[in-house]
Symmetry: none
Subunit: 240 residues, 2 copies
């Protein structure tokens, strides 16, 4: 199960260092050892170490980033966790299906599971960086480490229940990673402004819809290059 | 789901009051509200209240007993949780099957799920009071509240999976039909020729790639309209 080294647990702005430690422990019980922290309020901290118990090594290897975008750089499958239904939701993936899906995606690249703040979760903008959203069915909100525990449990169970599917060797094109997709969306937004399709004062809703559409398609690198080629050709023609 | 009022979470000699509070919260997220404490080291306690967050009512209703036997009094289905394999194990029940079994047993009577001490779990004598044992698959030991969270999650999921799916009423946008998609592809091809991105002699390979991409995304009618709007805006700008 060494592919689990390509699963990142990403925490956005965790405010309590104790929770970071408890998350490290929760992930490690399920054989997941990569923690990425986006702007943690306090880290490293003694409380984190105490609550990590035998997962101090996970804390020591944790990567700290200053933006979620940076944290997701090389990931090709990004799932945001959400406690609520949103106005314009990204595609949902049922928690019972998440585990087996993660192992399929690990054949192709890196996976990130993103958890929001203790108080308010992920913002819409942060959720827009994710290709899928998943929700833990519940009647009230889970503690951050408890949520990580449940999700990592589902991923671990999927590994136990099915030998990693080695059959999926249809040599597909490589998937575009998060950084490549973000450059595509920036390029797309620039062109849509040039051709006056986007209202510069209100670009967000439309861009979110387009993000969802392209996230859903799971673009390959070749496809991103084609789409950016179309955008560049549009710009050349417009400026003639 | 009011039969869940007949599920008891039983903690044997919990030593940290913070864990008791976290257990209360974990159980309540999964609609389980009965906590039974056997000889807690410190209870009630401020730490328990703090960690319970919005499950203080569960703490307030918690029953304190002086023996596990008393705690199990009226229960007809008792499952002990164990991290290790024992010399003379009681019958095991797989965690994935525990949930549906619990709901079957609730038809007949009360259910108890028993959790041992943070440090050493349940003794053999205590395990002998249980009819079944269950184990959370893991590579290291879970925090007490994390273990309660995972087990209550399985019980809650079994309830959701049995009930007719009332959740599946997310009125999604209608999918575009084949004719709408074909008009989109014609429009796209026309624009790609105008901006000289397509070789008019060899348009097919690229158009096929784009078809695959958009087919994969399962476009909605609204999305087709947006994409065609972008194409029209491109044409207007180009012909200016």
């Amino acid at each position: 199960m060494n592919t689990s080294s390509r699963i990142n647990i990403v925490l956005v702005e965790p405010s309590h260092p104790g929770n970071i430690g408890a998350v490290a422990r929760a992930a490690k019980t399920m054989s997941i050892g990569n923690l990425v922290l986006v702007n943690p309020e306090l880290f490293p901290d003694r409380q984190a170490t105490v609550r990590a118990v035998d997962a101090v090594d996970v804390l020591e290897r944790a990567v700290v980033c200053t933006s979620l975008k940076d944290a997701l750089g090389q990931c090709t499958f990004v799932v945001g966790t959400s406690a609520r239904t949103r106005g314009l939701p990204c595609p949902q993936i049922a928690l019972r299906e998440l585990g087996s899906r993660v192992w399929q995606e690990l054949e192709k690249g890196h996976v990130a599971i993103v958890f929001g703040r203790e108080s308010s979760g992920l913002s819409n903008e942060e959720m827009d960086l994710c290709q899928y959203a998943t929700t833990i069915p519940s009647v009230s909100s889970l503690n951050l480490a408890a949520a990580v525990q449940v999700i990592c449990y589902e991923i671990f169970m999927a590994a136990l229940e099915q030998e990693p599917d080695l059959a999926g060797t249809d040599c597909e094109d490589a998937l575009a990673d998060s950084a490549e997709l973000e450059r595509l969306f920036e390029h797309l937004q620039a062109v849509l402004l040039e051709i006056e399709f986007l209202d510069p004062k209100q670009p967000k809703l439309l861009m979110r819809r387009l993000r969802h559409l392209y996230h859903r398609a799971r673009l390959t690198q070749v496809e991103v290059n084609i789409l950016r080629g179309i955008l560049s050709a549009t710009q050349r023609t417009v400026s003639q």
